[in-house]
Symmetry: C2
Subunit: 214 residues, 2 copies
DNA sequence: AAAAGTTTAGGGTGCGCACCCTAGACGGGC
DNA sequence: GCCCGTCTAGGGTGCGCACCCTAAACTTTT
């Protein structure tokens, strides 16, 4: 891996743990096992580094937003795939999801595009849920799918913070990701066809075991 | 109002807007219309000031946690009262609710008590919802009330951030508070007796108009 | 082998910020 | 009038941090 990429990855991880402001360039250089001078060779300012992370964030979101329910596929599997991708994103860029509006100042791409991303995410989830309704796996009024999508997004997104504040560990392997996904299921599991509910639960449990690209 | 109290109130408001770290003591003094020296007369360190705000936070939560559904009262009114108190708290101490775990380092009371507060909040909401079930106003399985309470807490709590990120104004008078409360209603309004749903909606709308102690 | 790119080590700067210090002014209570 | 508490003004310090600089060493590419 190129040094520059290693720096961006380490920065993202440290920002997730401590927040952007609390991570010193000295600590970051040490984490990468490089000299601070080398950090400055690759990035002119700390803000440039933030923008590199933000660009990755944008790319990740753009790629995820391409996910669509397959018309000839399996709605449950497609939905699980989407939720898995979302959770991965929330974890990879946790500091940005913790207080995204505040980072808009540091990285213009975020400030400009956050609203559109959020709306597109709701629409994406809604499309997947609508597929479940079409397949007879979910009994939910069409008019209520948007609200369900929004609520699901909020629950998934803030789930890890929720467990963190309860004093529970939230890192990989702790079960927090699985619990977060299960929590979001409580929004609509009563309206799922029982076998579909079981399949979805199983699919999400498998996804929860996949470690993220640290 | 005593200067010390004015300082604490101004600090809380500025921390809500900018976060603790981004508020300089110089800016705070200016906001209070006092000299910086006077700020240091009242508080030895910035952290002492943080702790004063945190103490208020703790008191507010402890007082709110005393709210109980009145056995001889009206479940809907009691529930609205609780939700109103919660929303007020989320707004008064918005910065602490934005990233509460991170503030545990600055103010020990938060770090030590956050888990217990959160659990108590769930139980409180659950008790109020159970009352609605008992009164026949809400059709919800008793076993599902805890999940509903948790989800409601998360939605209410992060609702303002949600609108903020959509680029919508969230201050007093913008309708964001009302929309947040309505959003949480989408979790269970389909299970509310129709007249009860209308009454609750009306009660929450009235609460949303009450400005918070700036 | 030479050129280009990357990295190190070690010194440094400038700035922002929390906080200190001091003498004196002012206001309220006795 | 005295005492005490509160506040001001204006000067300051020390520290943490992002970032700079430079020569040399090392690695990769041509």
């Amino acid at each position: 891996m190129r040094t520059r990429d290693r720096i961006v990855a380490a920065a993202r991880a440290l920002f997730n743990e401590q927040g952007f402001g609390a991570v010193t360039t000295a600590a970051l250089a040490a984490q990468c096992g490089i000299s601070e001078g080398n950090l400055w060779y690759h990035f002119k300012t700390k803000r440039d580094l933030m923008e590199a992370v933000a660009d990755q964030f944008a790319e990740t979101i753009d790629a995820r937003l391409l996910l669509r329910p397959d018309p000839d596929g399996d709605g449950i599997a497609d939905y699980a795939r989407l939720i898995g991708a979302l959770m991965e994103e929330f974890r990879l860029f946790r500091f940005l999801y913790r207080d995204q509006a505040a980072y808009g100042e540091h990285a213009p791409v975020i400030g400009q595009r956050a609203p559109e991303w959020i709306e597109a995410t709701f629409a994406q989830i809604e499309a997947h849920l609508a597929r479940l309704v079409d397949e007879g796996q979910l009994a939910w009024p069409r008019a209520g799918l948007r609200d369900l999508s929004i609520n699901a997004t909020i629950i998934l997104r803030y789930g890890l913070e929720h467990y963190r504040e309860l004093g529970e560990p939230t890192g990989t392997g702790t079960g927090a990701v699985r619990r977060t996904m299960e929590r979001h299921l409580t929004l609509f599991q009563h309206a799922l066809e029982p076998a579909a509910a079981r399949r979805l639960r199983t699919a999400l449990a498998e996804i929860a075991e996949i470690p993220i690209a640290a």
